[in-house]
């Protein structure tokens, strides 16, 4: 299924490109305003597919500490 109004080539980049550094700084300021209400609950992980569980096991096997 295609995205609505999608084509092989992307639409012209008329929209602003989001600068990740600026986004992070803005979010950090907003989190400071909101306090603990900005804490994001992590996924419980009970909806993972078999493929996802296998991938996570492979990542863990590299010694990663995410």
């Amino acid at each position: 299924m295609a995205l609505k109004t999608s084509s092989e080539s992307e639409p012209p980049q008329a929209e602003a490109v989001i600068d990740m550094a600026e986004l992070g700084a803005r979010l950090s300021a907003r989190r400071a305003e909101l306090g603990c209400a900005s804490e994001m609950p992590r996924n419980a992980g009970n909806r993972r597919t078999a493929s996802k569980r296998a991938l996570l096991a492979a990542i863990e096997a590299t010694g990663a500490k995410w």
Binding site: L3, T5, V17, I18, S28, S38, M40, N43, S51
Partner: protein, 186 residues
């Protein structure tokens, strides 16, 4: 600006730099950049540590994307069973997995796909909008199987008071079969 000043984890920043490189390689071949979805998109839009090192990606060009990923050092994990569809990058210790051709069964408006320049540069990558991500969380919450997603939706909306509320309302209704709207997460 350092990673710590931006609020993002260094590992996450490195992962998105890599994703941007893969994305640029696809773009250079005349294909659309893949789209970041799921937990990594939630981490981008929140700076919260919700990701577990696996990055969910949508693309209609999976074979070509996987070619580019291999050029940048991704491998199939050794001993992986047939169930494993993802790829890992042994040096950065993360995984990418193509989970669909398009985000959210194609219900996302193309105009709402965002382009992002990662910290440190390296190109651009695409990600679902925060509005679509909130709607995705609410759709999962509405299914009854993921009660934790309501909290994520609330935090995301709290962090983005400038969200497009009309689009958000429409998308939450679509994803929750009409059961929920913006007022349910305010």
């Amino acid at each position: 600006m350092s990673d710590s000043e931006s609020g993002y984890r260094p590992e996450f920043v490195a992962a998105l730099q890599l994703f941007a490189r893969v994305s640029e390689a696809m773009h250079a071949r005349g294909f659309q950049r893949p789209i970041l979805v799921g937990g990594a998109a939630a981490e981008l839009w929140s700076t919260g540590a919700v990701n577990t090192g696996d990055f969910d990606i949508c693309t209609t060009r999976q074979p070509e994307l996987e070619e580019e990923m291999q050029r940048l050092g991704f491998v199939r994990p050794s001993g992986a069973g047939a169930m494993l569809k993802g790829w890992i990058h042994p040096e950065l210790r993360l995984g990418f997995e193509v989970v669909a051709e398009v985000p959210m069964d194609g219900n996302v408006d193309a105009a709402h796909i965002r382009l992002v320049r990662p910290i440190g540069g390296g190109g651009l990558f695409r990600v679902v909008s925060v509005e679509d991500l909130i709607a995705d969380r609410m759709g999962q919450y509405a299914s009854g199987a993921a009660p934790d997603r309501l909290g994520q939706a609330r935090v995301l909306l709290g962090l983005h008071p400038d969200a497009d509320m009309a689009y958000l309302e429409r998308r939450i209704r679509e994803e929750s079969a009409g059961d929920y709207g913006v007022k349910d997460i305010l």
